[in-house]
Amino acid sequence: MPDKRENIQPNTTEERGIQGAYEGETVTRRRFMVGTTHLAGAGAVMAFTLPALAFALGPVFERQKATWEDVGPVTAFNPDQYVPVNFTQTPGIGDVGRTTAYVRRFNPAIDGGQEPRDQYEAYIAISTRCAHLGCPVRYVAAAERFICPCHGGVYDKLGKVNGGPPVRPLDRFYTRVRAGRVQIGPRFSVNSELNRFSPRDPGEPLDGIGQYLYPARFTTAKP
């Protein structure tokens, strides 16, 4: 049986006796051409896959513009009872882009503290998007509870979880007053102590480790 090692070709082009070879050169013309062809092929594939992929992933990194929707004069809202308002959250898609919020004036007796925390809290706007999986909740005035029809989530008057599967209180919207009229702006989420967080999707808890498991997104609109 012949020694296999005898069949091994020398490593360098010089040892193989290839003409015009430099000392220590290992890349033969054939290897160079094969490598170039592979590189050119990979480049051609990248040339159409990378832009297409970026195109599809683009919306994940696109920051939304804050829009402020007029929902009525300041006299329409009081500190004790919620008033449902229907406004456009996503323009351009008709009724699908509309959503409902429950709005009342800031009430020191239930909201805590004498003054609103900042200019965005003079009116409290509670989103009807359930914090469990996003079904629309409704406010039952007699029970002073928000109730979700899908899986039985119940929230108290501040939107804090009373029972059922929701993992955090109901989201809220920034509000502001312009020329005597209340406007509703971007959404934000709150944890069980009603501290503000950038908007999270339903089903994502914000207490404890939750805020790190579900990080803020690039699409968040700033007021």
Binding site: V60, E62, Q64, T90, I93, L133, P199, G203, R217
Partner: protein, 279 residues
Amino acid sequence: MPRIRLPSKLPSPPPGAVPKALRPSPSRPQEGNGRKSLRDRAIEDGAEAGTTVVDWVDERTSLSGAVRWTLFRKVPRGTNWFYTLGSATLFAFLNQAVTGVFLAMYYDPSPTRAYESIRFITNEAFLGEFVRGMHKWGSSVMVILIFLHMARVFFFGAYKYPRELNWVIGVVLLILTMTMAFTGYLLPFDQRSYWATIVGVNINGTGAFIGPYLSDFLRAGPDFGATTLSRFYAIHMLLIPGAIAALIGAHLYLVAKLGTTAPPWLKVESEPELREREV
């Protein structure tokens, strides 16, 4: 049939002027001594047309070997009706593909027009209700069949060596089928499909770390927006069907390559001489 009569006496060409192929040659033995009429030859050629065409293609592709390799396989004793569940799933997929293509001729994936186009398909297009029904109920049939097929493979132990890779491909096909069912559910764009999709996307979002971004990707933004529906439509009719078709090809290749398993209740029979020695 009118015939053109040529003058019986034509001046013959000088010898050597006519190429060899055009010179009259004695008839071949199987053709008999006389020349066949045009009609007989046409009938003969017609009868052999199928063979001729197949031969023509086969000579240039060698497909017949591949077809024999795929279709005329040996199957183990005890093969039974449970072994047809995979083919049944395949036919359910083909039904979805064909009806889906024709539904796409009427469907309009814009948030303001989608519901109306579905209403048109159901109420006004000829056979629209029937074809849409085939697609709608066919999707449930496909999901049921793929699970039955999976159960057959599991309980028959057909996922074991050397078929593990085919099990993995099958699991990917199962996931893709569920994704098809999920993305297709939104397309009628009525209250039920809209809220079911909201809930479904939010379930996606509960995956830690990647979930929130996955939701943004599915919706093309933080909320259900103008392009969400067309995004679902493109995923539903272009992206996933291509992947499913390719993976079904790989799945079937491995089935043909590795063969099917015998049912687990079939005892292995040893060679006769070995049996004698055992006694």
